[in-house]
């Protein structure tokens, strides 16, 4: 039998995200011929899942979920590999009235042990009743779930042995949760973002409307299914707009980034999203002869988000791929966060990247963004910052910028970015539920990001929270500090982590550690152990800097000041002043 991918166009009249719930959206999509297609890292079509089949299979699983006695609203953790089983179980939960919790698969090389600890915290925080994952991760899942008294752990295959006796299904309703999103929070202290059907449908309908989707659209994605952009943007948006989508696994993409472009080219796809580093990786690894074989002329929406957007790498991507028909106006900068389902704002469609240069000194001293015409002679690039315009808030959503005391700031004044609107989460789940500082009673969400507005457009300049973002992944300083403090030589409170600008404008993680040890060999050993622990758990390069006691700077209340320790590190090491930055690790 020759397997062919689902078509781009079909006879079913397109409806654009005007559904009350996700199950209703799939009910409608199942009337057509479109669906999801899964490709290997070498471009082979592995499996095809038309929405019609997805609905049928999801309902059969929903019967099983019901029959094993799950209660309404119970959580079902799904180890989210790029595989059709994820869609099957995610939608089975929708039909069965239980809440899916997408969790990451083990990703780091040699990170198996650390992963089980992370997964265990997620299972425990979400109080999951079931954990489903690919059989090859069975041992990790079993170890992570030990003693947590889950009702079932195992693979989709093993789960299929339960009886699928049909029952009357009561799908999740508009006011109930659609999923629990764990991208937010650190790996040590996870936060489950509660997203209702109403919130996610509102975000999806705004997104679909902004993208001006047509019946000729087709998407490609390599984004992980457990991440809000991968899940809401590229798993759910296709379903609610009955659009066919082609997937390549995240690790397969990391190994062969060109596959993203090959898939775009061969599928004549029109829509794809990624963090800036994805575009950068692609451009860096592209060979000249590859470019000659690609046709990217159909690509009309190249969404960019999830981390601070710097224009240069994207420009390079556009330049390298212009001969293949890539139009730089396809770039669509967006701003968003898991706490607001996914998107908060999009730049106008077909406009490409729009950025402005502002006076860096004025910005840091007076928190005001004064534009500079960078074409003027004598303007020094080092004294300017460039920010990308992320557009206006979605319809029905409001964004304001406030100062530290909560007073709303005028345009071009930099402060904390707050969002209110129908896409905003209902709160955090479980132990981390009480966070009035994040979500106020009147519905304002403190995004933790810092920025300013110009003519109602959002410009993000940095973050208030100490979050470090590397390769599109959120790295929390608490996690780096925790790993350092696990060494017997390091006392609690003796580590402080932050990021500094690294090579090529990327963030470079640093952890500064106060240490009594004076023996050079022993110090080297401590650094090595911490470096290994960070690599195994987080998969990043981090500068491990051992310093004498009393080097870390504390606030008047005795709390560590990461911000001031960072300034001290920059001064002490003359960071960024020499052409050769300190080698990482």
């Amino acid at each position: 039998m020759i397997v062919t991918a689902t078509p781009t166009e079909h006879k079913l009249k397109r409806r654009f995200a005007d559904f009350a719930t996700l199950s209703e959206a799939l009910d409608y999509a199942a009337k057509g011929e479109t669906g999801c297609n899964f490709y290997s890292g070498t471009g082979q079509l592995l499996s095809v899942l038309p929405y019609a089949e997805l609905r049928e299979q999801a309902q059969a699983i929903a019967y099983r979920l019901h029959n094993i006695g799950l209660k309404r609203g119970d959580r079902v953790a799904l180890v989210a590999e790029t595989h059709p089983d994820f869609q099957r179980f995610f939608f089975a939960c929708q039909y069965a009235g239980v809440v899916p919790v997408p969790v990451p698969p083990p990703l780091q090389l040699g990170g198996g042990h650390e992963y089980t600890g992370h997964l265990r915290r997620l299972l425990s925080d979400s109080q999951a009743r079931i954990c489903l994952g690919p059989s090859e991760y069975g041992a990790f899942i079993a170890e992570a779930a030990e003693g947590l008294h889950l009702q079932f752990i195992g693979s989709a295959d093993a789960f299929s042995h339960f009886a699928a006796t049909p029952v009357a299904l009561q799908p999740l309703e508009a006011g109930e949760l659609a999923h629990l999103q764990y991208t937010s929070g650190s790996t040590r202290f996870p936060r489950g973002v509660m997203i209702t059907q109403r919130a996610v449908m509102s975000n999806l309908s705004c997104t679909v409307e902004h993208l001006q989707m047509t019946p000729k659209d087709r998407a490609v994605s390599w984004l992980p299914f457990y991440h809000d952009m991968g899940l809401v943007g590229l798993v759910l948006a296709p379903v609610v707009s009955q659009m066919s989508v082609d997937y390549v696994g995240t690790r397969e993409f990391a190994m062969r980034p060109r596959q993203w472009l090959v898939r775009m080219s061969e599928s004549k796809a029109t829509i794809s999203f990624g963090p800036p580093f994805g575009y950068e990786l692609c451009a860096r690894r592209l060979r000249k002869e590859d470019a000659e074989m690609l046709d990217l002329s159909a690509w009309r929406v190249a969404g960019v988000g999830a981390e601070t957007i710097r224009p240069e790498p994207l420009s390079r991507f556009a330049e390298v791929l212009a001969p293949c028909g890539f139009d730089r106006r396809a770039f669509l900068p967006c701003y968003g966060l898991a706490e607001s389902s996914l998107a908060v704002s999009f730049a106008p469609l077909n406009q490409g990247l729009e950025s402005e240069w502002v006076d860096a000194k004025h910005l840091s001293e007076a928190q005001q963004a004064v534009p500079i015409d960078n074409k003027l002679p004598g303007s020094q690039p080092s004294r300017c910052n460039q920010f990308v315009n992320c557009g206006k808030p979605l319809p029905g959503h409001q964004v304001v910028v406030r100062d530290e005391s909560g007073v709303e700031l005028p345009e071009r004044h930099c402060g904390s970015v707050f969002v209110r609107g129908p896409s905003v989460m209902s709160g955090y789940f479980g132990d981390s539920a009480h966070h009035p500082e994040v979500l106020s009673q009147d519905g304002w969400l403190d995004t933790g990001d810092v920025g300013y507005c110009v003519n109602g457009d959002i410009m993000i300049t940095g973050r208030k929270k100490d979050l470090i973002i590397i390769n599109g992944r959120n790295i929390w300083p608490q996690d780096l500090e925790y790993l350092a403090e696990q060494q017997p030589e390091v006392r609690p409170g003796d580590a402080s982590a932050f990021s500094v600008p690294g090579a090529g404008g990327h963030e470079q993680a640093v952890v500064v550690i106060q240490c009594r040890e004076s023996d050079i060999e022993k110090r080297r050993d401590i650094v090595k152990r911490i470096d290994r622990a960070i690599h195994a758990e987080l998969g990043i390069d981090c500068i491990v800097d051992l310093v004498p006691l009393h080097t870390l700077i504390r606030t008047s209340s005795g709390k560590l000041s990461r911000f001031r320790t960072r300034d001290d590190f920059i001064d002490r090491t003359r960071w960024g002043q020499s052409s050769q930055m300190l080698a990482a690790g």
Binding site: Q108, Y137, M255, D541
Partner: protein, 83 residues
């Protein structure tokens, strides 16, 4: 059929191309931390390992691969030469 030592030498040659000259790669080298390269570059290295040995590495084995020795063991499994 290549011997273990030959496979090790081949793998070390591939790895050595990506690391600073002063880093000596041997069978106990920890892939994730001792090479001083980030996870994105590590994936590029794996691609070269695939090409060099003409194998396809199932990526879900990675969480259990810590050292060069572990990687050789996987490569040999894939080559059908595991001892």
């Amino acid at each position: 059929m290549q011997s273990y030592e030959e496979n090790l030498a081949t793998l070390c040659t591939v790895l050595q191309r990506h690391v600073a000259a002063e880093v000596i790669v041997d069978e106990d080298t920890m892939l994730a931390s001792d090479l001083g390269i980030d996870s994105a570059e590590l994936m590029e290295v794996l691609l070269e390992v695939e090409d060099e040995f003409d194998i396809s590495i199932p990526l879900n084995i990675l969480p259990n691969v810590y050292t060069v020795k572990d990687l050789i063991a996987e490569v040999e499994k894939l080559l059908g030469t595991a001892r």
